[in-house]
Amino acid sequence: MSFINYSSREINCKIVYYGPGLCGKTSNLQFIYNKTNPQTRGKMISLATETERTLFFDFLPLALGEIRGFKVRFHLYTVPGQVFYDASRKLILKGVDGVVFVADSQVERMEANIESVENLKENLLEHGYNLDDLPYVIQYNKRDLENIVSLDEMREALNERGIPDFEGCATSGKGVFETLKSIAKEILMVLKSGIK
């Protein structure tokens, strides 16, 4: 649910990076943080365990520029991917404008990907959202590794709707900005079609 402020002429949108544990959600935000100039981004907040697993969320605010005289801000959040943090995941989805699903391309994580999409759908429904009506893009991450599922198979398992999808390597940054740009575009297109 974006927030339009006519007084400060700003629009804020919330993007949530979702996906199974260790798929690379935090790495996506870290790469974006490192590659955007300090005027564009705010502080990155990571509420993590001592072993750098996300505990509650990561948060990165970006002020990319202006459209039609309005400052466009995106608030990027990641959820904790570990299964037992489900209550926190649900909370982070509140008020979401668009979801990036980060899939782990490794063969042994395929089941975890599919479970995580199911979990995403359920948690969205609890807020009254339907994933099919929401701006949504997928990133097939860790394409640099050896033991990975083919792109076709990943598409078949995770992208039946034919939404925008990207191959990525969040540690080197491959696909990271393409993914962000795509979800931003999907969200702005919803705004264009009118206030919901």
Binding site: M1, S2, F3, I4, N5, Y6, S7, S8, I11, N12, K14, G42, K43, I45, L47, F56, F57, F59, P61, L64, G65, I67, R68, G69, F70, V72, H75, A87, S88, K90, L91, I92, K94, G95, H127, G128, Y129, D133, F177, K181, A184, K185, L188, M189, L191, K192, S193, G194, I195, K196
Partner: protein, 162 residues
């Protein structure tokens, strides 16, 4: 989409500013922030320069969301007031009109009792503003999809990522 789109207009913003500035004085507070439950900053006043208000807004919303989850676990609707006590500074959080969070930061120059008392009064006024704001948002969106972004082009979006 569930819930309604949050929009802030100039008029309501001014009314809110007046109320929180008054609260700042009457409660002897250091700074005050009004934050949307989704983590977006709506308004602020007082000593806000040294604080990262975007981070504050996001963490406040996370805090309220987490305690709200706890409340449900024990069968409460929500905890409408939270208080965090520090060595020098304290934070008083209260949920207003079920959808915004009033954050009051104060030190020894004030007291929890005084802040509570003044917050209560200010909350009533802010509730009224939000009630009429929500009605206005509903009316204006029913009047048609008059969005400032109706004319957006692909180029506009590409330009954001230059």
């Amino acid at each position: 989409m569930p819930g309604s789109q949050m929009i802030m207009y100039e008029e309501e913003y001014q009314e809110i500013s007046v109320i929180i500035n008054k609260l700042l004085k009457e409660a002897n507070a250091k700074s005050i922030f009004l934050v949307d439950k989704n983590g977006q900053l709506i308004a602020s006043c007082g000593d806000t320069d040294e604080l990262d208000s975007t981070s504050l807004a996001s963490l406040t919303a996370g805090n309220i969301a987490a305690t709200g989850g706890l409340a449900k676990l024990i069968g409460e609707k929500e905890f409408s007031i939270l208080f965090h006590e520090g060595e020098k500074d304290n934070i008083h959080l209260s949920i207003i009109a079920q959808r915004v969070i009033l954050v009051v930061i104060f030190d020894r120059k004030s007291s929890l009792g005084l802040v509570r008392l003044r917050v209560k009064k200010a909350s009533d006024s802010i509730t009224k503003i939000f009630e009429s704001l929500m009605k206005r948002i509903e009316d204006e969106s029913a009047a048609g999809p008059e969005s400032p972004f109706a004319e957006i082009t692909d180029d506009d979006i590409d330009n954001l990522f230059k």
